[in-house]
Chain length 342, copies 2
DNA sequence: TTGTACGCGTTATCAT
DNA sequence: ATGATAACGCGTACAA
């Protein structure tokens, strides 16, 4: 271990530790040149631990996400990392959708970080607000907890996005529109379901094709299968996140069901490869990186202004990216072709 | 700030700080019940900073990757996170392919972490070995530096993978086989190029279709474009990583070139959605998560056994996942159809 | 088992 | 501008 301390440097130069400390803090001192040399020769690095103890700051911001392999969260992290600045670093916690790991991580975070940016697993947990008792600022990203209004957050306009998607399907003439939803215990799960139902209601359509799933690829696959097994299968599907969209597409592929001829599909969250899929996938897109950077900016503001700054709530816009996975419903195609046939 | 210290707890219970400290360390003490209560009532949390200073340990392992939005590195991180254990956490550094950020991060890491798992940007850097002067264990993952033998590492069998891919193309009858390579300054870039060239040589083929690119989607796109513009275009392409494969496919898609009829393509690294692409993508696959967990296990071994344990080198196997993006070369198809035509 | 006191490496205060 | 020293919160050797 590089156990060379500020005292060693001081001895080497022949001054007191205070002088070295001042030099390191940017003050003007007498023997700057000699100090510089001594530091290099001795290979001295200030101890972060000692500084933390003295200052009460760690220069580290934690970011807690459910699944780092989900491209959406990876982009969030990237955005946050890009906005963290030169004097801070990021501590990543990947909870792997496990409540237990999330709780344990939260308890371990105390004292190691100056603040926490997190996407909580579900809305009905109290960990975060309990956590903030210790004076650590919290910024929610993509998801909030029940008492989320008390903390800053960066969300997506989920309701609008889901309405956009559903309206788009309705506009194509679909009546039997399914939704493969995320868990209603999560913010995006709930809000997107709300938007879907609102759009259906406006068009006087029922929500008998609503399935609550789990935001996973396997969940999307299973949900799509159960939809297809119905006597009266839907003609269009809105999948509530990227992973479930992939799962649903796999289910369709396995059954040889063609998109959009036999069924239309629109997903929430764009994918790097959406254009490469056959057919290119139509989606509701948003800027995940922006969400991450905004969350970090809010965090930095809290860190600088003190813990008593009022919470701020930011909302990132969504937009429909039209590609080729949606068309007119099967039935109406039949009708049309019949007409033509006459 | 929760400024309640061990002293506060001691006063509250009426014992000395040493007793509280012992209780926290798992020793048997007299007033356990009262101590438990006091801790809860006061909301006491031990200061990680003070513990770090005392013990010289932080309980944090850094993991440094070039791009967290690359699914491959995300899986590495996930694997590492899964193997980190209960008493440690992960500090993520995303260098964004910037040498400057990598260096700065490395220097900031000292004193904040017990060890560093990293995928260095290029092989010709000295940062890591310089870094290890401070006694911090280093484990390389996926990539190494020049003097990488001195440190533990977890690599992929890149040469074998590239040979597998190239041989596969050769086996389909291709003669004009291109490679869109990664930077030769990186471990996987260099090794995969080696494997490609070895396979070509064995088959008495030349490497005039070799292009060195940069592992990015844009780079893959550009490389594929330049390949297509040649008078004597290749009939098959081996793309050296996932992102460049996506870029190459985009280029093909934009030009309406069909796979595998007009050109065959095989990529290195599997993709979640490889089956969803039209046609399903044939790739060289490996277990990125395993690489991550193995790296973490090596790190933990170093941490436990002391810094003077000899370095270990692990190699993860690769395999060819055959789907539908490779076929016979255009020319031979023509020939065959001519024959049939007669 | 318990208490006292020192040290971990740094910064800040107070004299000089 | 510089030096001596207290303090940050904790763990532990030593003594009891």
């Amino acid at each position: 271990m590089s156990t060379v301390t500020i005292t060693d440097v001081a001895k080497r130069v022949g001054v007191s530790v205070a002088t070295i400390s001042r030099y390191l803090s940017g003050f003007t001192v007498r023997n700057e040149e000699k100090i510089r040399e001594a530091i290099i020769e001795l290979n001295y690095r200030p101890s972060a631990a000692a500084r933390n103890l003295k200052s009460g700051r760690t220069g580290i911001v934690a970011i807690v996400v459910p699944d780092i392999t989900n491209p959406f969260f990876a982009s969030i992290v990237e955005g946050a990392e890009g906005a963290v600045g030169d004097d801070r670093m990021i501590l990543l916690v990947n909870t792997g959708d496990s409540r237990e790991r999330e709780e344990k991580a939260l308890s371990q975070l105390f004292g190691r970080v100056d603040g926490v940016i997190m996407a909580p697993l579900t809305e009905d947990e109290q960990g975060p607000s309990f956590f903030s008792q210790f004076g650590l600022p919290i910024v929610f990203v993509d998801r909030v907890t029940q008492d989320g209004e008390k903390f800053s957050s960066v969300l997506t306009d989920n309701v609008k996005g889901a309405q956009l998607a559903t309206d788009y399907l309705i506009g194509h003439g679909h009546k039997k529109i399914a939704m493969i939803s995320g868990p209603l215990s999560t913010t995006p799960g709930k809000r997107r379901a709300d938007g879907y139902r609102a759009a259906l209601k406006k068009a006087n359509l029922g929500d008998q094709y609503f399935i609550e799933s789990d935001f996973s690829e396997a969940g999307g696959y299973a949900a799509m299968c159960s939809l297809l097994e119905r006597d009266d299968a839907p003609t269009a599907v809105f999948t509530a996140n990227n992973l479930m969209t992939i799962g649903a597409l796999h289910a369709l592929g396995d059954r040889g069901i063609s998109v959009p001829e036999q069924i239309s599909i629109i997903g929430f969250d764009d994918l790097e490869f959406a254009e490469l899929i056959n057919p290119p996938l139509t989606v509701i897109a948003r800027d995940a990186r922006l969400q991450g950077s905004q969350a970090m900016e809010l965090m930095i503001k809290h860190l600088n202004d003190g813990v008593h700054t009022p919470p701020e709530h930011s909302m990132v816009d969504v937009q429909l990216v039209e590609r080729g996975s949606c068309g007119a419903p099967r039935e109406s195609q039949k009708v049309r072709s019949n007409k033509i046939g006459r």
